[in-house]
């Protein structure tokens, strides 16, 4: 006799073993990539848009500087900040906001009916986002590099190390956002847009930190872990002393901690809100 006196009739075609769990995760990742590829216009559009924004800033910078002396260093600061910004925007929308879209379409409920791991639905998007952004980053680097005649690139390995943990940290932000989106519903879009600009300015993604007024720098920017990711990543590449903490080692420690803790916090917050949503029955409301 099985639990509660009900008999067990097997799981049909389901195989809940570890191997199939892994394959399920692969299928989820593949599906996101396929879905992305069904929006070719959007792909080209995001790409062109990215270059357009970059070009606008570069032109403004040239007019500001009066001559092209020192342009390459400035371009470095802008472009390297831009790379992190691009990851951030993709993660915010494609991981954070995507939950809302799934809720709206009813696919979130379908997901919750299945025995698949719900959190891996979020993680599985990383591949699609990753490959998409990497392509864009590489192309914009090549173009800007050509335009300004060589971008500074010191200690690339260390920079990649910092980039890795910055990205996992950004993923954590995405998880937190998706946890909030799960409950926020209508105002989710607003939240994501506001966050996008919030980080863009307060993490000084397009300009050096010293452009920010001291009050903002001390009371806002320094309290956002991502700021240290932006700062150390570009200082390492440009070959300058970081602006926030003069010792790059300390900044790297902060970034690594951010990169580890932020996804964990995101995970638990998501689990917590998911439970809440299932208690309130708001998983499928739209």
């Amino acid at each position: 006799m099985s639990a509660g006196g009900t008999i067990h009739r097997g799981f049909g075609l389901s195989d809940l073993g570890l191997r199939q769990t892994f394959y399920t995760f692969l299928s989820m990742s593949k599906k996101t990539v396929v879905e992305f590829s069904r929006y070719p216009v959007s792909f080209v559009a995001t790409f062109a848009q990215t270059l357009m924004i970059l070009a606008m800033f570069m032109l403004a910078a040239i007019v500001f500087m009066g001559s092209e002396a020192g342009l390459s260093e400035l371009a470095g600061i802008m472009v390297y900040g831009f790379i992190l910004n691009m990851f951030l925007i993709f993660v915010l929308w494609e991981i954070g906001f995507s939950i809302r879209e799934e809720q709206y379409r009813g696919t979130l409920e379908s997901l919750y009916l299945s025995p698949a791991n719900k959190f891996s639905n979020l993680i599985s998007r990383v591949f699609a986002i990753g490959s998409w952004t990497v392509v864009m980053v590489v192309v914009s680097l090549v173009i800007v590099n050509y335009y300004v005649g060589g971008l500074p690139a010191n200690d690339v390995m260390l920079a990649l190390f910092v980039l890795f943990f910055s990205i996992t940290g950004i993923l954590g932000i995405g998880f937190v956002v998706s946890a909030l989106v799960l409950r926020l519903k209508e105002s989710a879009e607003l939240l994501v847009s506001v966050l996008q600009f919030f980080f863009m300015i307060f993490c000084a993604m397009f300009f050096p930190f010293y452009a920010l007024p001291d009050e903002i720098l001390n009371y806002v920017s320094r309290w956002i872990p991502l700021s240290y990711g932006v700062d150390s990543f570009r200082s390492i590449l440009v070959g300058q002393t970081p602006e926030l903490i003069a010792n790059v080692g300390i900044e790297i420690v902060i970034v690594v901690l951010f990169g580890i803790l932020s996804p964990l916090i995101g995970y638990f917050l998501y689990k917590y809100n998911e439970r809440k949503a299932r208690l309130e029955g708001s998983l499928a409301e739209y």
């Binding site: 070719p40 800033f57 403004a60 009066g66």
Partner: protein, 291 residues
């Protein structure tokens, strides 16, 4: 009330009921948008955030010992780059709103199926669209004023410089060709599935060519020509010239205004023509319900 069924029922076509279509649509849109307070607030802050990015860039370059004001003046005619950016960002917001609101409205109505229910009424389409764009005009104008005033406080810009009346005139006249452009966006949305991305892209293309962050005069010859065939470029420059020491494209304000007036005559007609043609084609091929 039950009445005898005869003729066209309660349908009555006269200028009063026609205006009724226009004003009802306009009021309905304003009423609907007033329920989205968050989005409205966002609109107010967007241009400020948008202007903040290049302004901070300028500030950071200045702290490197470079005379940013002088450099900016050498190219544009004014050293007040903060005001320059804020005007650029605010006019860009106007362009975004005009194109996005009309386009987005069409999209929404298509997805929710209400577009078909509007189209089956005997109301003339230009009255319905006129109502929607009229609402966009009001919202865009108000957004410009508010964000410009608020931005001036944030960046410490002298609000009362230059000829404010002339600036207002450039905005109002400049909105008319935008009206036409919004029709073209509408047509595009009717035709293309991934309209959202296209609109997004086009907005950035527009912002690039209308010189939001830099004078279009720095662009090489052929790009500059493209830039100057966009009506918003003239609007932005006109406002800047009226308020700051930036020169008009044709040296005198009335020549620039005349160019915008020509745009204002051509673009709405062209836009509406394109819209109607697209719609007719849609009806022949697949119907409005498909998206």
């Amino acid at each position: 009330m039950a009445g005898p069924i005869a003729g066209l029922g309660y349908y009555e076509r006269n200028p009063r009921t026609s205006f009724g279509v226009f004003s009802t649509v306009l009021k309905a849109r304003l009423r609907i948008v007033s329920r989205y307070k968050g989005a409205l607030l966002m609109e107010l802050f967007m241009p400020i955030v948008f202007a903040a990015l290049p302004i901070l860039l300028g500030v950071s370059i200045a702290s490197g010992g470079i005379d940013v004001g002088q450099n900016w003046k050498d190219t544009t005619g004014t050293a007040d780059f903060k005001a320059y950016m804020l005007i650029g960002a605010s006019t860009f917001m106007v362009v975004m709103l005009m194109t996005w609101l009309v386009g987005f409205w069409l999209r929404r109505e298509m997805v929710s199926g209400t577009l078909e229910s509007i189209w089956v009424t005997p109301a003339k389409k230009y009255l319905v669209i006129g109502g929607v764009t009229g609402y966009a005009l009001i919202r865009a104008f108000v957004a410009f004023i508010l964000s410009f005033v608020l931005g001036s406080f944030v960046f410490g810009i002298n609000l009362f410089q230059g000829n404010m009346l002339m600036a207002a005139m450039f905005i109002l006249v400049g909105l008319l060709p935008l009206w036409g452009i919004s029709f073209m966006f509408g047509a595009l949305i009717l035709r293309i599935k991934e309209a959202d991305s296209i609109i997004n892209l086009l907005q950035w293309v527009l912002s690039f060519f209308m010189g939001v962050f830099f004078p279009v005069t720095v662009l090489p010859g052929f790009l500059r020509l493209i830039a100057q065939s966009f009506p918003p470029t003239w609007m932005t420059n006109g406002v800047r010239a009226a308020l700051l020491d930036v020169s008009f494209f044709f040296e005198t304000w009335y020549m620039d205004l005349a160019v915008i007036l020509v745009f204002a005559a051509v673009f709405p007609l062209m836009g509406y023509g394109i819209f109607v043609a697209t719609e007719r084609r849609m009806k022949k091929t697949q119907g409005l319900g498909m998206y």
